[in-house]
Amino acid sequence: MILTHRNHHGIDIIALSGRLVIADVPEVRQKLLATVEQGNGKLILDLAEVNFMDSSGLSVLVSAFKAARAKNGDVALLHLNPTVRSLIELTRLQQIFAIFDDEAAALTRLSS
């Protein structure tokens, strides 16, 4: 599920893959919350390789967002495929998540 984790000038970038569903939620939530806790609360989630997500996957994204905001940070979503994007839009979560197709733009946003 977790493909890669790297840090770019204090911003954590985590790439996920496959299905983000109820079976994967405990592992991914733990990883994201630990990353936010140990870092600056600035997190980019690269979802290019996530091909399916359900509402439990959304809850993981929101939990990371809440943890980040508690540290005055933020979470940006990167490279959403059409399936995931339509789920985010259906549930209006684009109103709290900054969404980018370009990593440099996401980094700029979280650096500001």
Partner: protein, 144 residues
Amino acid sequence: MTRVIRLEIDSRPECIELLSDALCGVCRRLPATEIDRINLAMVEAVNNAVEHAYRGEPGHPVWVELELASDHLRVRVCDRGQPMDPHHLEAELIEPDPADPATWSMRSRGLFIIRNCMDEVRYETRDGVNILAMNRRLANDPSA
């Protein structure tokens, strides 16, 4: 011609993907966006059965009946767990507001998603079996 297939899993999260794979195979002749909607609705309904009806306890049956016809696909997700309050089906989405942490809800999106992915949704408990029945009208004949 209407055809029906019944699939059953144990109430464990890791088994739900099997249902997804089967549904995607059954619906393979539909447009990808249509398969995505139906699959998402089914997964949400099965999640509810596993998480809420059986309270996360493995060892119980969850079964799905897919009814394919020329103009619709019916999905019935069944369990023998704790019934859901049918009023939950009508729950509205909490609009996320970046300025209001109270709206950053962690849960309560599944039934909203189901309602928005399918054309008709109905919930009933009959003879100890909870049934979430969903219907999707189709432009493409899935059996063609």
